[in-house]
Each structure stands twice: as structure tokens, then as C-alpha cells.
Symmetry: C2
Subunit: 212 residues, 2 copies
DNA sequence: TTAAAATTCACGGAAAACGGTGATAAATGG
DNA sequence: CCATTTATCACCGTTTTCCGTGAATTTTAA
């Protein structure tokens, strides 16, 4: 591990970006080698330079944080990645971990947590503070509310998206050129899987899991 | 106007708070007299101290920014208030203006915009940058998509919330102890007002406008 | 005070959703 | 290769939504 950690910061909120760089610049052993306002910009920077650590926001326009992390991991598995997010949804945290982040902290944590996260991650450990673990734990216990085991097929996702666009069963059948009965079967399976009581529940699920 | 502006900063994201104070502290004519993590804390500080300017986030847990601004305006109309938000929804901006903010900037604007906003507001002007005005303009032209003229009554909001909780018309009637027919009338009025095709559209509206 | 809006209620018919059951063929995965 | 999942389709009965129309009472605002 180097004496000085070279860091790339990615966040679409310019003000947050300036704030965080202002904090990091006060630390002698941390060097900001670049900033980017979105995943695409960050990938361009990574073509030229290789930081020790990437600090990235998760919710960003264009190429979002999770896709960005996946993209980075597709060509480099050694760069450390710390996700900073205001997203408290366990689905997002899980997705981030699956994508390959080394740590995940919330934006409402402070400077101390940030610096601790950087230190931990740069020395090879993972960093998921109590606050983040609590969210994951809750989601595990609340199996009824946000079950992670739900796996929807592509067809089901496709139909769910149309339902969310206020299409009726008949209209979906016409759109996909299949029987209305088939759509009804898919609809029933979707309700069973997501434990939704009706279409409203389905759409809320779709929104919650960022399907739409 | 004083030589030195006394500022109270309110934001639930500790990291953002530290970032912004770090930026403001570099300015000699700005003095941070307090920070708060939510509206309630901020109101407590205001019992003891009176800043020239309040910089507040809009989306906060507990007492949210808009309610906080309204609360402040109920006992003080002279304190300047600058809203900093990542919310790009025109509804939120309108609500903030209605609540009585003197300016509204987005979190993806930079230090320069922030300082300009502070200067403008403290000298008695309002500050709504191009980016914010663009959102408002778009929403006016996009009357079909996000009509600002929709005004739902309290009863309608109440019923919409229950709809969003997957309650059927009958269940809502039982909950509110009124006729099923009445609920149907409300439902029809809601659909007409929001131009929703069905319950799905209603719930999406509710989510979009942060009703639920 | 008077007009407008909000809240309440009713009836009837067409359309859609909901629930259960059963079944076939193709694709997938261990 | 074989079990599972996926995707397709059908039927039937009940419930709910959706749509139109009409109306009375209370509350609110000009």
C-alpha cells in the first residue's frame, strides 16, 4: 500500500463534490487525482490514470453508480471502491455489494466515518458501518416487506413495466401479441412472487426495486 | 445589512453539512452560527439565536424542509432562507417558493453559485438560477405530464394514500366509515384531476408528488 | 352574502381485475 | 438426462374497477 492514497471522486452534485474534496484536501496522505460528475466521465479519467481508491455516489444521472462500479470491475478488480449514497434501500446496498464495492457509507455519516472508511478500505478491508448493516439486517428480517429472494423473469419484468404504464391486461396482450389469458397468468405469478395484493402493490414493488 | 452574514445551515447529510461549512468558513464575511440535522433541531436553535440567513435542505427526515420553512415564516418573515435541494421536481420548487424561501439552488450547482445565491439573497433579492427556472418553465409547458394546477383536497389526499396502501374501495369506505359510493366519487374525481387512466396512474402521481 | 368547492350519497351497466384450477411446450440448469 | 422454470393458453365465477349521471349538504372563499 502506498504512503499517499490517490483518489478519484465521482458525484453529480457539484456542491457535494467540492465539499468532500475540501475535506479530503485537509488530509496529507490523501491526494485527489480527479473528479467526475458522472460514471462516463469517470471511466474516461480511468483510461489515463489509475487511482488507489474511487469514491462514488450511487444515484447519478446517465451512467448510475452501480453500473459504473460494474464497468470498473470489468477491467480492474484491484481498485478500491467506496460508495457514498443517501439511498437507504437495502436493494441498492445489495446491488452495490454485488457490483463489487469495498465499502458503502451513507451521506448522513460524517467526516470521521468517511476517513475511517478510506483507511479501512485502503488497508484491504471492507467497510460497512453499523448504520448500513442495520439496513441490511432489517431487510433480512422483514422478509414480507422487501424480500431479496424475488426473482422475476424477463417476460415478467416486461409485463410489469407495461402494467406500470397503466396498460390493461387486454392492452398488454395486444401489445405483445399473445393471449389475454397468458397475461393474466403472468399477472397472478407476479402478485404471488411479490406478495402484492393488487396492481398497486405490483407497481410499488417495481418502483421500489428501481425496475421503472 | 450587516458586514458579516450570520448563517444557520440545516441538512440531514452530515457529510454535506461538513462540506458546505468547510466552503463557507473560507469566506471572511460569512459566519456559521449553527448547524442542524433536521427542521426540529433548527427550530430549537432559532429560539436562542437569530441568523441573517438559513440555508436548508428540502428533503429531510422528520420535519421536512418545506414544513420547516413554513414554521419559520410563521414567526419570522425577515430571515432570509435559501433552499438547497437535489429535488428537480417542479412541484417541490413551487411548494418551497410558496412556503417562503428567498432562493432555491440545486445540489449539483457549485461553490460559485452558492456564494452568489448568498450574496443576492442577503442584499434583499431573490435567487432562482437558470437551472431552477428551466424546471419551472418545463413544467408549465408540460401541462399533460406534470400539471401544477392540480389541487387535491385533504379528503382526496387521505383517500389517495389509502389507495396507495392497496386498500380497495370497500376497505377505504369501512376505514373512513362512509359509503362505498362516496369513495367511488372521490376516486373518479382523483382520476379526472390527475388525468390518470386507472389506480396505477393515481399511485404514480402520489409517488411523483411525494404524497406518499 | 353568495358563488364555488368539498364532501357526501345513489344507481346501473360494461369492463377489468382477482382467484382457482389445469394443461402443454420450450428452455434452462444441475 | 431430468427436474425445474418459463411461457404459453383456457375456463369460470366473483369482486372490483371504471364510467356516466344526478343530487343534497356543508364548508370555504370572494
Amino acid at each position: 500500500m502506498p504512503e499517499i492514497y490517490r483518489i478519484l471522486v465521482v458525484d453529480d452534485h457539484k456542491m457535494f463534490l467540492e465539499g468532500i474534496t475540501s475535506i479530503l484536501n485537509q488530509e496529507e496522505h490523501l491526494e485527489i487525482i480527479g473528479i467526475a460528475y458522472n460514471g462516463k466521465q469517470a471511466l474516461n479519467i480511468l483510461k489515463e490514470q489509475t487511482p488507489d481508491l474511487i469514491i462514488t455516489d450511487i444515484e447519478m444521472p446517465g451512467l448510475n453508480g452501480i453500473s459504473f462500479v460494474k464497468a470498473v470491475r470489468s477491467f480492474d478488480t484491484t481498485i478500491k471502491i467506496l460508495a457514498i449514497s443517501s439511498h437507504q434501500s437495502s436493494a441498492t446496498i445489495h446491488q452495490s455489494i454485488k457490483a463489487g464495492v469495498n465499502g458503502y457509507i451513507l451521506k448522513n455519516s460524517g467526516k470521521v466515518t468517511l476517513l475511517k472508511a478510506i483507511a479501512e478500505i485502503c488497508s484491504g478491508h471492507r467497510f460497512f458501518p453499523q448504520s448500513v448493516q442495520a439496513i441490511l439486517n432489517n431487510s433480512i428480517f422483514k422478509k414480507d416487506n422487501s424480500n431479496q429472494n424475488i426473482i422475476l423473469s424477463n417476460r415478467e419484468k416486461e409485463i410489469l413495466k407495461l402494467i406500470a404504464r397503466e396498460y390493461s391486461t387486454q392492452e398488454i396482450a395486444d401489445t405483445l401479441c399473445i393471449s389475454k389469458n397468458t397475461i393474466e397468468t403472468h399477472r397472478k405469478n407476479l402478485m404471488r412472487k411479490t406478495e402484492a395484493k393488487n396492481m398497486i402493490g405490483l407497481v410499488k414493488y417495481a418502483i421500489k426495486t428501481d425496475l421503472i
